[in-house]
């Protein structure tokens, strides 16, 4: 198998970046061999890319269930220290709904937040392929290609309107 090289092509705008992705596809690169880095959210549809997988909604649901179970525990704590009061239920209904609601929502929101950390592997302070111009509006296409076809890929990116095409070096952010 030929050696591969990671290249980072920086584009001034969305259109040339989308063209470049089409070219990379026609050159034989699979979608999972490239990634787009941008300073604003660019949807997959705009770039003709497949939908990204995210576990955040599932984690959120899991957190909601966990929160609900903690709520149930608190609702039934009076059974652990049974104090009968005349005319009062040991486990009253409506206040239990309040407890269950708050803890379910707390579980849902905390797990959603943590879901972003887990799915994005945050925090990550190791060196990564990046150029600071991205946060100034540039769009970078990061891809792996065979070493011996580097020139061809670089030319294709330049033809699409890339401002720079260089070997992607991991740098400290």
């Amino acid at each position: 198998m030929a050696d591969t090289v990671s290249l980072l092509a920086v584009f001034p705008d969305l259109e040339p970046a989308a063209d470049a992705i089409d070219k990379l596809r026609s050159l034989g690169l699979a979608h999972d061999q490239m990634n787009v880095i941008s300073g604003i959210p660019v949807t997959e549809a705009m770039l003709g890319r497949p939908s990204q997988w995210t576990n955040v909604p599932r984690l959120a649901l899991g957190g909601a269930i966990g929160g609900f179970l903690v709520g149930l525990f608190l609702v039934f704590t009076p059974l652990l220290y049974f104090v009968p009061v005349g005319g009062q239920p040991i486990i009253p209904g409506p206040p239990s709904v309040v407890l269950l609601f708050e803890l379910t929502m707390l579980g849902l929101l905390i797990s959603t937040f943590l879901g972003v950390f887990l799915d994005s592997t945050f925090p990550s302070y190791r060196p990564m392929q990046y150029v600071p111009e991205i946060s100034d509006g540039k769009i970078a296409v990061f891809f792996n290609c065979p070493e011996d076809e580097r020139e061809r890929y670089t030319q294709a990116m330049t033809d699409s309107g890339a401002e720079t095409v260089k070997e992607a070096e991991a740098q400290q952010l």
């Binding site: 990634n35 787009v36 880095i37 941008s38 300073g39 604003i40 959210p41 660019v42 949807t43 997959e44 705009m46 890319r49 990204q52 995210t54 955040v56 909604p57 959120a60 608190l74 609702v75 704590t77 009076p78 652990l80 220290y81 486990i91 009253p92 206040p95 239990s96 309040v98 407890l99 609601f101 708050e102 803890l103 929502m105 707390l106 849902l108 929101l109 905390i110 959603t112 937040f113 879901g115 972003v116 950390f117 799915d119 994005s120 945050f122 925090p123 990550s124 302070y125 190791r126 990564m128 990046y130 600071p132 991205i134 946060s135 100034d136 509006g137 952010l173």
Partner: protein, 477 residues
Amino acid sequence: MASTTMPMEHAHSEEAHLREQHLMLDPRPRGEMNAMIMEAMHYTTWKFWVVAAILGAIVLVGLFGSWGYMIAEGLGVAGVNRPVFWGIFLVNTVFWIGISHAGTFISAILRVFKSEFRRPFTRAAELMTTFGLVQAGFSIFMHMGRVWLSYWLFPYPNQRQLWPNFHSPLSWDLLAITTYLLASTMYLFLPLIPDLAMARDRTAGGWRKNFYKVLALGFRGTEGEWTHLRNAMNIFAFAIIPVMFSVHTIVSWDFAVATRPGWNSTIFGPYFVIGALHSGMGAVIMVLAVVRATMKNMKYFIRPEHFDAIGKLMLIISMGWAYFFFNDYMVQWYGGDKWTEALLHWHEAGPMGWMWFLMLIVNVAIPWLVLWNKRWRSNPWIVFVVGLLINVGMYLERYIIIPISLTINRMPFTWRMYEPGIEIPLSIGTLAFFILLYMIASKLIPLVPVWEVQEGQMAHSMKKFGRETVVTVSELE
């Protein structure tokens, strides 16, 4: 010749006018906008430091000094006494929780409804939520008196054999406020990550570089990172709305579940929620007017169109508040209960009756008289004054509901007027602390979510219908 060039000129001037009016139609290169935001954070005049020093002194003396004194001397230095055991501390708690509602309202509800005008000031409003809840938390601990024993609230095996009842209304409060504080802080942080990454990229070195680097968490803006972030923000936007409603509803139940005249009302939940939005929106517009006037480059991001839009919301909310107020009043008045009648009379004709009338004037009459006019509600300083007055009115409303209503009860021999003592410096201290925290935050984090503004600018364009140029928005998500 003139007949061929005139329509062109007209079209150009119309477009220029629309650009001047709408931030979303007036894009600048992203790098330039980033530079403007960074400059706003870094540019600090001596006036900033003077105001910060004064506020810092007030916080030290008014908040921590007075609190320390109260801890040393006991709750006796406060004005709470029989029959008014709930005084200004709880007025402040309700007030600050009310202020905190604006952030979620603007950031979540307007996001769900895709109201584009929200984009430049969501963060400014979200910050108010977090810092407002901090003050509410302080006020609860002040009210507690023996604050060093607050751990008694928590259940753990102990020699006293006392286990808290999680079904009690005060436990609902603890849970609701904790949930809302955590949720709103997380909701503030998520959309901040890309802007912190931008600040990291534009900061050369020093402690600021490390600050942004740590908080940006290594964000680069890959497709995956944006997808996870967008999903999480959507979940938050929907889920935090019922939490927001629950918080102030539960606060209202602290009063409504008691069988006291004036409090035992089924409409207190929505009445409190609309009151919270009323004061919160008033506070947002005040903050925006001050930020626009004092921070560099903010006139580009915060424009009269934003004051106009918030002004309309304030007008609608003011109408909603008047409706709920009257509904609450009407049912109690019609009920004819002797003690409730006495209380309503006390509100209007008692020694503090001026508060009741002033509340109605500033919460209803003034907003209705001023905010119907587009030119007035687009003027930052006019709406600043209206927002300030609404906040005075909403503070009075809570004062009337709590200490004034507690002054009289079914046992006339216990009636006694409430005279606040150390509560006054403590209240001024919490206000100063809120402003100080906000000022510090404005120098550390981008107050305008630049990426959200640019995303909105991408989606907006102008289109001609016949002779008229109109604004159009594309759905990008």
